[in-house]
């Protein structure tokens, strides 16, 4: 190894014989690294936005149901069966997970909403307004206020209100098939107009406190259909889902079906997977270009040193020793470039993550794929991108040195020294 150390030293010294060229080459690699990490970070950011925009309106990132609830969404299939469950205890157990940001119970019903001579079919969503506000954006924009429990209050979508000519304070009859087969009906007061920005939601949904909807549908207070959950890492719900499944099931005799947004919105998951598959492509393109630049420099460098190599060979150095120096040069160049790249990339990422440019002034927010979008270009950190790019940079530097190194070993000492 001592012998090897000599070649490392030679390589290091060789690098600094043409300082300018080395710096330019290293800078090229460092900026390639920067570009790769930031590009992937931006795509991660877009993915996170895609997931968040696609889930935060209503779906949320993880949903918990009775194992027989999906896909039919039969109203009788509440968590814990006909008897229901201790909802507060269930929510407390969900919230116990360190990955859970917030959870919210939901009860679904279908029925009629009627006022005066106007009647419409409506999807009735029973919610806990406080908890729901932390999980979804459903109640972010309410004219008036959210309905409070026990007072027979209701909020409806703005479009439904417009179609039916409703205004705040109106008396509304809600009719819904109840769990016992009867036709539940009660009078409610309209206290809120909900604007989600999604036409189907605004035209079809009515929001009631969960307890009032349970009463209307002749259900016990322990009966809910769904617990919606938001988590700390939306792009990593798979592991969180497994942990929740393990921790919730078996307890209190419940059999629960825990699903991630990726299962609930497969089309969204496909988009994200498509974006993910581009990571590697980006890295390959960037370093694929870099590899020729580096190789060019190294070839020039070895060509310049032809005579020098011939001399050391003539003095008894093995061909592999000569080749190794050149490869080691690539190694050292890569390490330098990586250090420099990390040094310039880290602060840029931190800045871009914390102060992402908001293009809302230019393009405004928009509704696409069933969700409302804020055009914010934020980069997300990941472990994968810097590691992958670093590895790619290193491979590029070393790989670019392989051909020149091979060339260097092929130099016939006598011919080179004789300038033939």
């Amino acid at each position: 190894m001592a012998h090897d150390a000599v070649w490392w030293r030679v390589a290091w010294r060789n690098l600094w014989r043409n300082r300018g060229r080395t710096l330019v080459t290293a800078s090229g690699l460092a900026f390639g690294y920067l570009a790769a990490v930031v590009m992937v970070g931006l795509m991660d950011g877009m993915n996170a936005m895609l997931i968040e925009n696609g889930t935060r309106l209503m779906v949320s990132q993880i949903q918990i149901h009775s194992e027989v609830y999906l896909p039919e969404r039969n109203m009788h299939r509440t968590i814990g069966g006909y008897g229901g469950t201790d909802v507060d205890a269930l929510l407390a157990r969900v919230d116990l997970s360190p990955d859970v940001v917030a959870s919210s119970p939901r009860l679904f019903g279908g029925g009629l909403v009627s006022s005066g001579s106007q009647t419409q079919a409506a999807l009735l969503l029973g919610i806990d307004p406080d908890r729901e506000a932390r999980v979804s954006m459903l109640l972010d924009d309410v004219e008036g206020r959210s309905p409070s429990a026990g007072a027979f209050e209701i909020a409806v979508g703005t479009e439904m209100a417009r179609q039916m000519g409703l205004s705040l304070g109106d008396e509304i009859v809600v009719v819904a098939p109840a769990a016992d087969g009867s036709l539940g009906n009660d009078l409610f007061t309209l206290v809120g107009l909900v604007r989600t920005g999604t036409p189907t939601l605004d035209a079809n949904y009515a929001f009631l406190p969960i307890a009032d909807l349970q009463y209307l549908m002749a259900m016990d207070p322990g009966r809910i259909h769904e617990v919606a959950v938001t988590v700390t890492r939306p792009w990593d719900t798979e592991a969180i889902m497994s942990a929740l499944t393990a921790s919730l099931n078996g307890d209190a005799g419940l059999v629960l079906d825990v699903r991630t947004w990726a299962e609930l919105r497969p089309e969204l998951a496909e988009s994200v997977a498509l974006m993910d598959s581009m990571y590697l492509l980006i890295v390959i393109i960037i370093f694929g270009m870099a590899v020729f630049g580096v190789a060019n420099t190294m070839i020039l460098g070895t060509f310049e040193r032809q005579k020098e190599f011939a001399v050391v060979r003539a003095l008894g150095t093995t061909a592999s020793g000569v080749g190794r120096t050149v490869v080691y040069e690539g190694f050292i160049l890569g390490a330098l470039a990586l250090a420099a790249g990390a040094l310039i990339t880290a602060p840029l990422m931190v800045w871009w993550h914390n102060a992402p440019p908001n293009l809302a002034n230019i393009v405004g927010s928009f509704s696409w794929a069933g969700s409302v979008w804020q055009p914010v270009l934020r980069v997300e950190y990941s472990v994968k991108a810097p590691l992958m790019s670093g590895l790619a940079l290193f491979i590029t530097a070393v790989f670019a040195a392989v051909y020149p190194a091979w060339k260097a070993t092929r130099i016939p000492p006598a011919d080179a020294l004789a300038d033939r």
Binding site: T119, Q120, V173, V175, G181, S182, D186
Partner: protein, 258 residues
């Protein structure tokens, strides 16, 4: 809501409300299918009727029995009011022309069933609101043919196939119906979807004299996809050609005088 999607009560209730005239000779083989069905309907339906019935509903999740009082005038008007159980007494349905209205005594409101919910279950049963209104149009909406004429289990029957006319706004792909030749009593009606799958079966039984006419006093609906579920309607009494005005079938009267 759409679990009972596609069922129709009208024909069922209509037939059950029917009275069967003693007049009229049995149809001959030469008579066209349409004429027979038309005659079945006409002979069996009084101009007006009043009756009481029990509706027993069994589903996977609950079972219940409702007692009801029923009035009808022609094919266009009918009114059904729940009398038992007490908790739901007064709940009523009015069918006038193509519209269906519900009265909910608890909130003291009448509500017109919107088009989007016409396929919804009627009173939790295996009938839909649409069943109420489409019944009067069956002769207009379908083409009829006799698929079979002869003995079945020792009784002479007609079997009809009803195919919807191309432009008819109906939900069925095909309806099959068996009628006894002797007395023109319906035996069963089978409803198929557009893929030719049997969706539900209506079975008539308990043929007896009520209000001076032979009627099937019991009618059973069974959905094919949930064989353990059913709705059974049983008439306790029926009277025909009663004195009743069109004004009776009004929103004001729907609220009832309890």
């Amino acid at each position: 809501m759409s679990r009972f999607h596609g069922f129709r009560i009208g024909r069922a209730l209509g037939l059950a409300l029917l009275a069967h005239g003693l007049l009229g000779p049995p149809a001959s083989a030469q008579t066209s299918a349409r004429d027979i069905i038309d005659r079945v309907d006409r002979l069996m339906r009084g101009d007006s009727s009043r009756g009481t019935m029990q509706m027993e509903i069994h589903t996977e999740h609950w079972s219940r029995t409702l007692s009801m009082e029923v009035w009808s005038l022609g094919t266009e008007f009918s009114l059904v009011r729940v009398t038992e159980p007490a908790r739901e007494a007064g709940t009523a349905t009015l069918k006038a022309d193509q519209e269906v209205w519900n009265y909910l005594p608890r909130v003291d409101r009448t509500i017109k069933v919107p088009a989007s919910l016409m396929m919804g279950s009627w009173m939790g049963s295996h009938f839909t609101n649409d069943d109420l209104v489409k019944e009067s149009r069956i002769v207009d909406d379908y083409d009829f043919e006799i698929a079979y004429e002869g003995p079945r289990d020792g009784i002479g029957v007609y079997e009809f196939i009803l195919i919807p006319k191309p432009e008819a706004p109906v939900v069925w792909g095909r309806i099959e119906e068996q009628v006894r030749i002797d007395d023109l009593m319906p035996v069963w009606v089978r409803y198929f979807d557009e893929d030719g799958e049997l969706v539900r079966t209506l079975t008539f039984s308990d043929f007896q004299q009520m209000g001076g006419r032979l009627v099937p006093a019991t009618m059973l609906v069974t959905p094919s996809d949930k064989p353990e579920e059913f709705t059974r309607v049983r008439y306790a009494d029926l009277e025909f050609d009663i004195e009743i005005e069109q004004e009776f079938f009004s929103l004001r009267n729907l609220r009832g005088r309890r």
